[in-house]
């Protein structure tokens, strides 16, 4: 019975190849001649439309030598100045904007004011078409190239790079099959699988097609840090994907991204953990991948294709959601926004708690209180700040895992307020939850 199904596969008519595309064809326009639908939609990632909590707003700005961009996304720091207090002393407190389409990824990184702090080649891992630059810098070896470009000063590494993400970064040119081209993910997923008992995991060999429809995005939409002088990009997944597992990783490594300017607390920065948060939600549990919602099928003429206009699904609920949830598009958007409102309320309360704790510690420090007396309160700030950041930096405002986002923010409040008690009462032992 099943083999009837297989024989059907061969009978399909392969598409007519207008141009030969090889493993060194980086320019998407060339791929676009064979796959016009996907290419047209790919170009539309330059659009900027807001949703209630996502999408992005096109803000005009006067181009200058330092930053030739005439349009940027809105600044999250202006939207919520408490973020500046949370990240006081770190580049993020200088410039942090709403994310926008893939078309802008390279320029947005190159010209962000966060570049005023010294950055390195590692940053380019997720902000440009890196498959060829890594191969070229590594004499044909992707990992070696990765290791070569990482420690270079950003400006120098930038000269090795030509464009934002291209077809080559997600597709094998001959079969168009999905593939992983980012060392960060190759090594991160291997460490995660090893911790779950599967040694020597090679994602390009072992992952199913369905898993790849998530993993291609998880190459970049993840928490990360730069390890050691060689500034190696590492995804902290050896204990698991929950914020508690990742925090335990950083505690064991005694790692800090920066020392908080107002409190002296060794602090951690979380960045866009979409993959980690999604993994805790009911959609992931039901096998619903990033591509199902962010690259839903679209019928163009007589062809059904994956919509390569990667954007907020709430701008396209009919295709992104209705096949699985046959209800009115307005109701779907309303449900998503209801979840996001709850998350936003908890984020607001947690930010108030953290800012209050930071004020308390800063005051005590200024009043000459010693490090040992402030240790307990600092530990609470470190943990509360990372937990809040984990949800704040995640770009779905809780939608990817509603209960998990609420849990994390609740526990963050428990820590921040206990920090306030500890500042006032040195005998107070804050209660810390297990994993």
């Amino acid at each position: 019975l099943v083999n009837i199904f297989e024989r059907k596969q061969e009978a399909r008519t392969p598409f007519f190849q207008v141009v030969a595309v090889t493993d060194t064809t980086e320019d998407p326009a060339v791929w676009g001649r064979n796959f016009p639908h996907q290419y047209d939609r790919y170009l539309k990632t330059a659009d900027q439309i807001r949703t209630r909590f996502g999408g992005s707003e096109a803000l005009p700005r006067p181009p200058s030598d330092a930053d030739p961009r005439s349009v940027v996304a809105q600044s999250r720091l202006d939207e919520d100045p408490r973020l500046r207090t949370m990240w006081a002393g770190y580049a993020f407190s200088r410039d942090f904007r709403e994310d926008r389409g893939h078309a802008y990824m390279l320029d947005d990184q190159t010209f962000t004011e966060r570049q005023q702090a010294p950055q390195v080649g590692t940053c380019l891992h997720c902000h440009a078409s890196m498959y060829l630059p890594y191969k070229e810098a590594g004499g044909g070896d992707l990992i070696r190239g990765f290791e070569v470009l990482n420690p270079l000063p950003y400006a120098e590494a930038r000269t090795h790079v030509r464009r934002a993400i291209a077809c080559l970064d997600c597709h094998e040119p001959v079969t168009m099959a999905l593939r992983i081209t980012r060392p960060g993910f190759l090594e991160g997923i291997r460490a995660l699988k090893a911790s779950q008992g599967t040694a020597g995991y090679d994602v390009n060999r072992d992952a199913t097609r369905q898993e790849m429809r998530t993993y291609v995005c998880a190459q970049c939409h993840v928490e990360y840090y730069f390890r050691g002088a060689e500034k190696r990009l590492v995804y902290p997944w050896t204990n698991g994907l929950r914020v508690d597992d990742i925090y335990a990783y950083y505690e064991a490594a005694d790692f800090a991204d920066w020392t908080h300017a107002e409190t002296g607390t060794p602090s951690l920065k979380a960045q866009h953990p979409e993959f980690e948060m999604w993994s805790q939600g009911v959609h992931a549990r039901s096998g619903v991948t990033c591509a199902d919602c962010h690259m839903p099928y679209l019928r163009l003429g007589a062809q059904k294709v994956s919509d390569h206009h990667v954007r907020s699904p709430l701008l396209n609920p009919d295709n992104a959601c209705r096949t699985c949830h046959p209800i009115a598009a307005e109701e779907l958007v309303a449900r998503a926004e209801r979840i996001q409102e709850n998350t936003f309320r908890l984020r607001d309360l947690a930010m108030d708690a953290l800012v209050a704790l930071i004020g308390d510690i800063a005051q005590a420090k200024a009043a000459g209180r010693g490090d040992d007396e402030l240790a307990a309160a600092r530990a609470m700030q470190r943990r509360a700040s990372f937990y809040i950041d984990f949800v704040e930096a995640e770009n779905s405002t809780g939608f990817h895992a509603p209960q998990e986002a609420a849990r994390i923010l609740g526990e963050a409040m428990n820590y921040a307020r206990q920090g306030q008690v500890a500042v006032r009462d040195p005998s107070f032992r804050p209660a810390v939850a297990g994993r």
Partner: protein, 160 residues
């Protein structure tokens, strides 16, 4: 019979003939009742393509009602999705389903709510392509595992 001492030999012949007669009688009876069940359960209609044939068994009614509301009412009958293309596959599946479903129906021993079994599911997945191969060529293009249509189009056949 787990007795260890050998059976007396003179019984062998008569017993042998006796069992033959009983077996033949039983077979006849089975055929007879089978025929009656077939007639009474409107078995003949089962062989046709008419969806109403499936709905003879009221346990199929929800699927029949769902089919009437779904997008394929004027596009595909139950057999178009639930039997493989091509005569041999079609009637082989109809025979095996026919037997097991009527067996389950009469004995009342089947899971509630009904779940399509892997074998029948593979047949149905295949049938989507017999009509829609053209439109899904692109997403079926690369040679990973074939995409499952009903992962997203669960209610293509019948809206629950």
């Amino acid at each position: 019979m787990t007795s260890t001492e050998p059976r007396p030999s003179y019984d062998m012949a008569r017993a042998f003939r006796g069992t033959w007669a009983v077996a033949a009688g039983l077979a006849g009876l089975a055929l007879g009742t089978g025929a009656f069940t077939f007639w009474y359960g409107k078995g003949a209609s089962y062989l046709t393509n008419d969806p109403a044939a499936c709905a003879n068994c009221h346990v199929m009614e929800p699927q029949y009602a769902g089919w009437l509301q779904a997008s394929h009412r004027s596009a595909a009958t139950c057999n178009d999705c639930h039997t493989p293309k091509g005569p041999i596959g079609k009637y082989a599946t109809k025979a095996s389903n026919g037997f097991w479903h009527s067996f389950a129906f009469t004995t009342g021993r089947f899971p509630e709510p009904l779940r399509i079994k892997p074998g029948n599911l593979a047949v149905t997945e295949g049938r989507c392509r017999s009509c829609h191969q053209g439109i899904v060529d692109a997403i079926d293009q690369n040679h990973g595992e074939p995409v499952s249509c009903i992962r997203c189009h669960t209610d293509a056949g019948h809206r629950t």
